[in-house]
């Protein structure tokens, strides 16, 4: 892996060159939060941000998209060309890159691959950037505070400069195109990088013990904690909508009135929503809220470990931030482990 450095003051120039690789999306401030959007000027870009409201998932797997249109005269027409439009995601945190790597496993490396996801991911350059954890980040517990793949370039703050990790040949092309902005790092730069890395890891305020969690979940399948969660959860689905790795979707055919033309729409779904497990005939396999909220935890923290070797949670803290009733993954897991007594009381204590 090639490592270079770039003066912070030249980052605006570097970003000016990036459109050669696709439409640039970067973290911008919107209201009280941040979003990945197209900047109309450099000063819109926020390099120090906590987390975006929605993860980069929104660009790889849009909340609503037409996968193809159908017409009896013309047949099926896919939208792959549209999905192949090059993009550059600038300023992505390590846990969100991990999130994309997890989506890759599901959509690009599994038995049934998704051409739309693959087209977007393949044509999207990712430039990562490091971050200072807040009280909701759990990245160090989930081992997502550092990432070594899934990005083209990764920028790490070392004072006046960024250390630039080159992850792919496309990242190398970016370096070549903006070569004058990059220089060789020194031993002192590496020392500073290591010092800051250790300092950052030590600065995490939120922690979660992940070891043996799948086994604990197996043992606690009938725990009354899930009933308490069911009482508290509103089934709004916010946690899964903002999650970088929740990927459930629904498919609907929308046919034009009075014609046989139409389009197939894919839109985000959530296992928290009551209709998620509703099938023809009115049977709902997860009619109770407690069963839905339990399912989400089991899928992310246990099912995914069995299938892919790690939980699909990346510790971004978005679910904690988005939950309208302050359900917090830390207190849920601690309650399941018996370290807390009651979700409601612990949630109240943390709010």
């Amino acid at each position: 892996m090639k490592i270079l450095k770039m003066a912070k003051e030249n980052l605006d120039f570097f970003v000016s060159v990036l459109p050669a690789f696709g439409e640039v999306y970067a973290p911008l401030e919107r209201g009280k939060g941040y979003v990945f959007e197209r900047p109309s000027k450099w000063s819109d870009v926020r390099l120090k941000y906590t987390r975006t409201l929605l993860p980069p998932k929104k660009l790889m797997l849009p909340p609503r998209e037409t996968t193809f249109v159908f017409d009896p005269d013309k047949g099926y027409q896919d939208r792959l060309e549209e999905a192949s439009k090059p993009m550059v995601l600038f300023g992505v945190h390590s846990y969100d890159i991990f999130g994309l790597n997890i989506l890759d496993r599901v959509f690009a490396q599994s038995k049934y691959t998704d051409p739309y996801y693959i087209a977007r991911r393949k044509n999207t350059a990712v430039v990562g950037i490091d971050f200072e954890p807040d009280d909701k980040h759990l990245a160090s517990s989930l081992n997502t505070d550092f990432v070594d793949s899934g990005f083209d370039l990764f920028l790490s703050d070392i004072g006046d400069h960024y250390l630039v990790l080159v992850g792919t040949s496309r990242g190398d092309d970016m370096v070549v195109m903006s070569n004058c902005l990059m220089t060789r790092p020194t031993g002192a730069d590496f020392e500073e990088y290591k010092r800051r890395s250790m300092q950052r890891r030590a600065s995490y305020k939120a922690h979660l013990v992940m070891e043996d969690l799948p086994e604990i979940l197996e043992m606690e399948y009938h725990s009354k904690v899930w009933d308490e969660m069911g009482e508290r959860c509103l089934s709004c689905g916010s946690c899964s909508m903002v999650c970088p790795t929740c990927y459930c979707f629904d498919i609907n055919d929308e046919v034009q009135l009075g014609s046989r033309k139409g389009e197939r729409i894919r839109s985000w779904d959530s296992c928290l929503l009551k209709t998620h497990a509703l099938v023809a005939g009115g049977e709902n396999f997860r009619g109770a809220r407690s069963s839905r909220v339990k399912f989400r935890y089991y899928h992310k923290q246990r099912g995914f470990v069995a299938e892919y070797g790690r939980p699909s949670c990346v510790g971004c803290g978005r679910c904690v931030e988005a939950c309208p009733v302050q359900i917090n993954i830390i207190t849920v897991i601690e309650s399941i482990r018996g370290e807390h007594h009651g979700i409601a009381s612990s949630a109240r204590a943390s709010s």
């Binding site: 605006d12 120039f13 459109p19």
Partner: protein
């Protein structure tokens, strides 16, 4: 927007240097061009959308030192402006030594980059060439 063949070509200048705008305006108007101007990227983009000029002269360093680059990207996303000839005029390569990225390297979606100070004859020749080429391409479509 369809224009009569005899109608003077419109050039939009987006530049915060009032003196430079005045000088270029005089040069282009004397050659029969109609010139409109905006002093910053946001106003320039808005004017470009409504005016749909025949050519745009775009500065880089305005209220921000990369403002012109971002404005150009925005323009290329507007269908009516996606193929408009754009000449970037800037002193960035002289003023900011750190930035030595060759505009010919293919990253800049402008038709031409001219470093300030600009040779008036060269500028007039390029504006004439690009507006004529664009008009000819428009007629062929």
């Amino acid at each position: 927007m369809v224009k009569e063949m005899t109608e003077p070509k419109t050039v939009l200048m987006i530049d915060d240097d009032v003196d430079f705008v005045r000088a270029v305006r005089a040069l282009l108007e004397s050659a029969g061009f109609k010139v409109r101007a905006a002093g910053n990227g946001r106003d320039g983009l808005q004017l470009a959308k409504t005016l749909e000029p025949d050519l745009i002269l775009l500065d880089v360093i305005m209220s921000e030192r990369t403002e012109g680059f971002f404005v150009l990207q925005e323009m290329r996303r507007v269908p009516a402006l996606a193929n408009k000839p754009v000449i970037m005029l800037s002193s960035i390569y002289n003023d900011v030594p750190a930035f030595r990225v060759d505009p010919e390297a293919g990253w800049l979606p402008a038709n031409l980059f001219l470093a300030k100070p600009v040779d008036p004859k060269r500028l007039l020749a390029e504006v004439t060439r690009l507006t004529t080429t664009a008009a000819a391409e428009g007629r062929q479509q």
